[in-house]
Each structure stands twice: as structure tokens, then as C-alpha cells.
């Protein structure tokens, strides 16, 4: 009796080597996950905390609207009647006009450290909208051709391989390509349209691959059913394939949007200006709109962080811009997700 008890039953828990490994692996994986989470949290918190100092303010309306609506300006710092004054360029001019004696006071000037980033926001939104439009039109067309029309052969396999390789090309190389092709060869100069095409080519592989996946996910029965009713191939695709593939295509374009909005390298030679006084719609004739350079958020961060002397005022602009940038990407992504979910609920199978 007693021996039986001490020996235990068949399911008696014992600490075996396998169990130790089990524990070790569990904690390793768990630890890795938490580490990732921690890094992400640190990055976001850092930008949020530092950026919110610029974007928010302690007094009503609590949001620093000037940062969103004004152009970048130089900051003038000087001592006035024993008080340290910090003023943007325009404010300083008005101040000098009011107090002529202030003109003689020596000021310390910091470029881009005052005002806001309105032109950068506008530029980035324009770049995203234009390049995504081009990329979606080209990418979805190519995906439809590859998936619905083309017969598998050596040529198509080669095309797919090329697309796959294109996805691995670093963004700076796209920048160089855009510079050589659009800016110099097509003579478009540094312009919105050159940036659009450069960015579009950069995200094309992602869009094509993902669109093809989404098209593949549409059951074959829908195509056959439609064709059997006397639809042409294009009617079938337009009415009975693309609508169902659209949610998937949108999902992929969300990733594309984040990339297009964020990449600095492709636009630094092709579309971005360090500074530009005019807003994009201040053009003499309509066609000029496409052939003007713009300011852009990621490039502005780059300029403010590397092209001007660093000082206590630059951080305000850097992190404020980064914060706004994240906000905008989040906003665009949320819109696409809502749109996608809406479509997905409409077409479920």
C-alpha cells in the first residue's frame, strides 16, 4: 500500500528535461515579445512626449494651431527690457515696427525654428495621394493582367521575378532612378510629378503582389458563374472579381501609404524642397502645379536635424514634425481600414 503511494500514479507530475526546455522556451518567446513591445512603446512615447510639447499648449485652445497652419520661420531671440524674448520672423518685424528702438538690439537667429509646418503637411498629403493613385492604377492593372489574362510562361515568370526583385531595391536607389529618369531625362526638374512617379514605382511591387493575392483569393466559381452567363472577361473582372478583391488591395495599400509618406530618400532628389514660400496652389497656370517642388514632412525632419546647426530650439520642430507625421499616417491608415471593413462587410462569402 505505502510503496504504491510513494511511487505515485501513472500521471504523477515529474520534472523532466523536456519540461525544463518547455519552460525555458516559453520564457524566451515571451521575453522577446515583451522586448519588441517595449521598444515600440519607447519610440512612440518619446515622440509623443517630446512632440506634444510642440503640438499642444497649456492655454486654450490647447492645440498649437500655428504649428499646423503656418510656414516655417526663423526664430529671433533677444533681450528686451531685461526680458528674454522669442519671436518668429513675422512677429519680430511687427514688433520692430511698433518699437523702432528694438531694431538696434542684436538678436540670435535660428532658422526654421519658429512658425509651423503647414507646407510640409500639404506637400506630404499631395505626394501620398498622387503617388498612391498612380501606383494603384498601374499596380492593379498589372495584377489583373498577370492573374486573369496572362498565361503562365517563361515571360510571365520573368516578370514576376522582376517584380519580386524590385521590392528589394533600397529606396535611395529609387531616388537615384527618379532623379535620372524624371528629373533629368524627362526634364521635369524637382517636381511633384517626378516625386509621384518615383514613389509610385517604389510601392508598385507591394501593390502588385498584394493585389494578385487578393485576386487569387476570389473563388473561381464566381468567375465561372459569370462567364457562363455570357459575360466577357472584363465584365466578369469588373463586376464579379475586383469588387471582392478590393478590401485586400486596400489593406496592402495601407502599408504602401505609410511607406510613401515616410520615405525620405526617393523624394530628396526628385520632389522635396528645403524651403518654399509659396503654397502648392499658388501657381500661375494649372500645369505649373505638377512641376513645382514641395516641402514634405520626412524631408523637413531630415533638414532640421542635419542641415542646420542644432540648438535648444530645433528639437521642438523635429519632434513636433514627427508627431504630426505619425498622426497623419495614422489618420490615412484608419480611413483605409474603415473603408476596407465597410467593403468587406458588403462582400462576404
Amino acid at each position: 500500500m505505502s510503496t504504491e503511494l510513494s511511487a505515485g500514479h501513472v500521471f504523477q507530475a515529474r520534472v523532466t528535461l523536456a519540461q525544463r526546455w518547455e519552460q525555458a522556451c516559453f520564457w524566451l518567446f515571451r521575453g522577446a515579445t515583451y522586448l519588441v513591445l517595449l521598444c515600440g512603446a519607447v519610440v512612440f512615447l518619446n515622440i509623443f512626449v517630446k512632440g506634444s510639447r510642440t503640438v499642444f499648449q497649456p492655454t486654450a485652445p490647447f492645440i498649437n494651431t500655428a504649428f499646423f497652419t503656418e510656414s516655417p520661420e526663423s526664430l529671433h531671440v533677444f533681450v528686451w527690457q531685461g526680458k528674454k524674448m522669442e519671436m518668429g520672423d513675422r512677429e519680430h518685424r511687427a514688433f520692430v515696427a511698433q518699437h523702432p528702438e528694438a531694431a538696434k538690439i542684436k538678436t540670435e537667429d535660428y532658422v526654421y525654428s519658429a512658425g509651423g509646418i503647414f507646407p510640409c503637411i500639404v506637400g506630404t498629403v499631395l505626394l501620398v495621394v498622387g503617388s498612391m493613385t498612380i501606383a494603384l492604377v498601374l499596380g492593379v492593372s498589372a495584377a489583373v493582367y498577370l492573374n486573369e489574362y496572362a498565361r503562365d510562361g517563361t515571360f510571365i515568370r520573368f516578370v514576376r521575378l522582376a517584380i519580386l526583385n524590385l521590392a528589394g531595391v533600397p529606396s535611395i536607389v529609387f531616388g537615384l532612378f527618379g532623379f535620372g529618369m524624371f528629373v533629368l531625362f524627362f526634364d521635369w526638374n524637382v517636381s511633384l510629378i517626378a516625386g509621384w512617379f518615383t514613389l509610385a514605382f517604389m510601392v508598385l511591387p507591394v501593390i502588385i503582389t498584394a493585389s494578385e493575392e487578393s485576386l487569387k483569393a476570389v473563388p473561381k466559381g464566381f468567375r465561372e458563374g459569370s462567364l457562363a452567363l455570357g459575360a466577357t472577361k472584363w465584365q466578369t473582372i469588373r463586376k464579379n472579381v475586383l469588387p471582392y478583391a478590393l478590401p485586400g488591395i486596400l489593406t496592402s495599400s495601407i502599408l504602401g501609404i505609410a511607406r510613401v509618406a515616410g520615405e525620405t530618400a526617393p523624394i530628396m532628389f526628385t520632389a522635396a524642397y528645403v524651403v518654399r514660400d509659396k503654397l502648392p496652389w499658388d501657381v500661375d497656370k494649372f500645369s505649373d502645379f505638377f512641376f513645382q517642388g514641395v516641402m514634405a514632412l520626412p524631408y523637413h525632419i531630415y533638414v532640421v536635424s542635419s542641415k542646420i546647426p542644432q540648438n535648444e530650439y530645433t528639437e521642438r520642430v523635429q519632434y513636433g514634425t514627427a508627431f504630426v507625421f505619425l498622426l497623419i499616417v495614422a489618420l490615412i491608415a484608419t480611413t483605409s481600414i474603415v473603408l476596407r471593413n465597410h467593403l468587406r462587410n458588403r462582400y462576404k462569402w
Binding site: R151, G221, E224, G225, A228, L229, G230, K239, W349
Partner: protein, 288 residues
Amino acid sequence: MVTASTLMETRSPAPNLRPTLPAAEAGRPAAPAAPAGQILIDIDHVDFFYGASQALHDINLKVEDKKVTAFIGPSGCGKSTLLRCLNRMNDLIDGTRVARGSIKIRGIDIHRRDVDVIELRKRVGMVFQKSNPFPKSIYENITYGLRLQGVSNKARLDEIVEKSLRGAALWDEVKDRLHASGLGLSGGQQQRLCIARAIAVEPEVILMDEPCSALDPIATAKVEELIHELKTRFTIVIVTHNMQQAARCSDKTAFFYMGRLIEYADTQTIFMNPGNPQTEAYVSGRFG
């Protein structure tokens, strides 16, 4: 020429399968002109290939107008392949070809260069084994084919929707939710919706590839009843693995084995008094 004009008179707009000379080409003797209203589809010595592998060997079969013809035979014997030849759905598969012989519908070879395959498929509708309602409303499912043909008059669409759904014995079950998704229906209802969708475009022939294989006995009975009613208006070719079904609802039965047509006769004959020992063995359930 008689054959072509009958084709024209039955459907008013756009005479399709163009009324030119019946095929007397390719060195083949033209099939003897069948009495109108008798033979609708004439499959004449057809060999069919998937790439290099031959799926059909020398098939010779005449489908009669306004009758139900059943294709039976063990799995892989080529029933679906032949069925899909009739509306050229096999064109969608790379590397397929009818290497020899011809398929004529009302005397017109459907592989002729001047045959518009779109028109052919409007005339020869298809119901698939796996019911495939589109993820759209019931109403949109039915009107899909009509809208393709440019019908956009609301009253006319409403009328055809009701007629087709009644024709498919589905009207009473769905009349209150025409604008709900077709995917919300039960399996049997979905298959009848697909039948309704096919008859909405008023084809002459309806091809059915195992339409009941995913249905329970009650839903199957409903579809079979439906087939009975439909045969007054349409010519039906049905593939089935269910012997009772073939016996119950078809007029003629073709038994296939290994890509060959073994026997083709009245359903009565095939089941009661088959002329071929293989057919006998198959219909009595001894192999297949």
C-alpha cells in the same frame, strides 16, 4: 438553312451563332440536317485533350430538344469535360482542345471562327456542382446576366426576377428578402438561386453538373421536381452520380466509361434493359 432560321425565330434580339452556311468544311461530311425541334446538340466524333492527355475518345451523341439527358459514369470518366465542351467553358483552361470532330448546336458548329462564345454561353447556361451564388443580393444575382445584356428597365427586371424565381420554385421562400445576400440562403436554396440565375437569361439549354451533390434528400427532391417543370421550356443536360436521380428525371441517359461513350439510349432502356454488360454492371451498382 432551316436550322439557322429556327434559331433566329426563337429569340428575338441579335441572331447569334450566325446564320451562315452550316459547317460543311474540314473535309467532313455535314451531319444530316435533323428535323427541326428534334436534335438540338449534335456531338460528332469528338476527341478532347487536356494538354497531352486525352479525356474524351470519339464521342458521338445527339441531345434532343426539350428533353432531359443524363450523363452517368464513374468518377473521372469525362462527364464534366463533355458538359463543359458544350458551352466552351473548357476554353478557360490552358492547353485544352477539341482535336477531332465537331459539336453542333442547331446545326452550327460552336467551334467555328465566326461563333461568338459570349453569345453561345447566353444560349447555353450552366449550373455548377458547387452552388456559386455571387456575394450580392438575391435580386442582383438574378439580374446579373440581364444587366450584362443591357436590360436596365426596373419594371422589366422586377418581372424577370419574379418569373425566374417562380421558375426555380424559390419565389415563395425569398420574396420578402430579395435584397438580402444570396449567401444567406440554405445550400438547396442557393442551388435553386443559381438555377434561377441561369434561366433568367432565357437560354435554350441548361447544363447541370451534379447540381444536387451537396444537397440533402429534400432539397434534392425539390431540384428534381424543378427539372421536371423546366424541361417544358428548356433542354437540360444533367451530370449525376445518383442512379435514382438519372432514372427519375431524365428521358435519355448516356453512360460513359474511361472517356468513351459506352451506351446512349432511352433512360428506360439503360436501366431496365441495357445493351452493354458494363452499363448493366454500373447501373446495378456492381462497379463504379
